[in-house]
Subunit: 433 residues, 2 copies
Amino acid sequence: MSVNAPWLGARQAAQSIALGTMSSQAYVESLLAHIERREPTVRAWAHFDREQVLAQARWADAHTPTGPLHGVPIGWKDVIDCAGLPTGCNSPIYRDHHALTDAAAVAMTRRAGAMVMGKTVTAEFAASHPGPTTHPLNANHTPGGSSSGSAAAVADGMVALAVGTQTGGSVIRPAAFCGVVGFKPSFGMISRYGIKQLSDSFDTVGTFARSVDDTALLMEALTGRNDFANIQPVKPSRVVLCRTNEWHEADACMHLTLDEACRRLAAVGVATGVVDLPAQFGEMTRAHHVIEYFELARALQHEYLLHSELMSQPLRNRIESGLALDAAAYERALALREQCQVCIAQLIAQTDLLLTPAAPGEAPLGLASTGKATFNRVWTALGLPALSLPFGLGPVGLPLGIQLVANRRRDAHLLAHGAWIERLFNSTYSNNF
Amino acid sequence: MSVNAPWLGARQAAQSIALGTMSSQAYVESLLAHIERREPTVRAWAHFDREQVLAQARWADAHTPTGPLHGVPIGWKDVIDCAGLPTGCNSPIYRDHHALTDAAAVAMTRRAGAMVMGKTVTAEFAASHPGPTTHPLNANHTPGGSSSGSAAAVADGMVALAVGTQTGGSVIRPAAFCGVVGFKPSFGMISRYGIKQLSDSFDTVGTFARSVDDTALLMEALTGRNDFANIQPVKPSRVVLCRTNEWHEADACMHLTLDEACRRLAAVGVATGVVDLPAQFGEMTRAHHVIEYFELARALQHEYLLHSELMSQPLRNRIESGLALDAAAYERALALREQCQVCIAQLIAQTDLLLTPAAPGEAPLGLASTGKATFNRVWTALGLPALSLPFGLGPVGLPLGIQLVANRRRDAHLLAHGAWIERLFNSTYSNNF
């Protein structure tokens, strides 16, 4: 049995395995062959154990499916513990650090029958110092980060599903750059236990897939929530363009993209409009930094005390800034966030969705930076669910992403509307390069 | 140099070590001798490495103090990772699980110069199935839980400081039962990274000490926040008795205790009053269970998938209840909590502090249960800071505790008022048994 798996969706793969028309082993072998071919260029994987994955696939083939992802392998950002594999965090401090147990999110997907393909490259401790991953479409460009490997692996067809984390823009931004569907759920939607922490107030587990439907399937497995099962496309009644207070930092192609998206929605009878964020939202970027630095200085204190010489200079600087912060400054930032949360809940309640850039533009040239989280920080800070959908290509020929944002805890609602808009835009990822 | 350390406060001990009038080694040796004598009865410790503690003490004596807890050992609940020691979680699943790194809270105290005395007994995974710890004043009674060993060790004079966690009532209740000062800070005040998780929405790191001043010192170290340094007693202008909707579940002695506390405050000119919680707060106990079970079922999924036969039946039942819960029921419970948070913030804004029972009464007879969290769940669920102060003895001769609750993030304010009330009540712990 031979299959060409790299462009198969996770739902399709799981159904074929459950029906017995494809074995998990054949599926995995096809993905492994693709990875072998592409990995020297893309470098999406931090740790990989071919034999372990194949053993899991053979086990899956020998057992009756018990969950919706039976026999389907997932890529896990290398800050997430997977039993028996290292959790390297892209730091020499954790080079040989093997996880003894699975993170709760990993265990939830095993409960759904999924397997661990391997660990995907992260920026150092999910912050900003990048790993070696390249953009699957053009190796001279960054894939974005910090969930670089998860985004690139899904975009390249190495896996259908991958998991990452977002503290600033670490899921939505690389998903947009790589042209896949990225989902940062509401704060707290997926268990964070067993994942290296940066900021307890912001860290959110998120997903990468090549369709909204596969995103919903992965969310169902990760959360064990019945409201992610059977999500059907629902036409939104009203979508409002939110330029944010950082609109001037988006490239011209992103301005055009959002206008075009609005036009296409209006053309099929979706009410559209524009909403301005009150001035206090302009201070959220600074507040986000204050909260993040204050918290990561504490979360990474063990590493800082014992191994600061093995940290990148930018990370050391952030920790030292965080330790120098006054408690009152941290409290002011938290209070501003709470005010903005109340305000945005009222604003969004008047519409179904906000439409906003997923990133300033295409993936930047070079691997020294993973790009800017300008259009992500505020939504992460507010804890709102955000979905990135690919929407055409920019001047360099790399994908552009739009971001849909819904009210807090309205994740299933966002995915249902996102599925409808994805179909409208015909923007599901296809192997057209 | 010989000292009688068991009843020395942490501030006193740290100052003596810094001045050179007492060595850390002499201090630790005195504590170790006391532990050796008492541990066969109290059984406060899950893991203990005498030689490691003495080596740390000798290191402290050989180095110039760099922080406010230089040379002072702390007891850590056995769900908190301390590098080189096991994190046993009072579960056979983790019998031989050695932590490779320090939890962030442990690292923060090391930064302040503190040392790790050992791991204190916890109920299974910080839930309800108890460990072997007994009440220091009467070994036939429970010390409370789930932070049983931390409370008992501080009450017995084995350490001046210990750290625990509270998801329901796991810090305040054992502190009240054992007659020490327990502090559950606002949700999120102390980093939880490296601590076994039950409920991401509720889990809060808290402290045990024999005075409010030592509590503030430990909070300063744990958080690295400047607002916990130099907390001075401040007279509250208004303290309001909050009987909660579960008042009938408190023993008669607790009713009398709170009335007496109010009388004493009124006698020195503090305005007092009574506040009733709106009816919706009566549903918070059930909402707390829904949220806790939903989340712990996910947080402990790895253990449940692989080792459910090594779990206690009550814990297995909770996990299975949590997995069976509808997502909508979980969302309703979260929404109720948010409504109650808005409501309580307005209620408390009109006063300085709420006064409420720390527990239903004295520590119950027997070790099969750690007692009820009836008077703790709601404050944990709302994320409010809560301080337990000892206030006399009950009919069996065991301590009673009152609980002071302040508005969210007003932790320093609560400790300053708590220090003033502690002095008024002359209720600091003394070795009077």
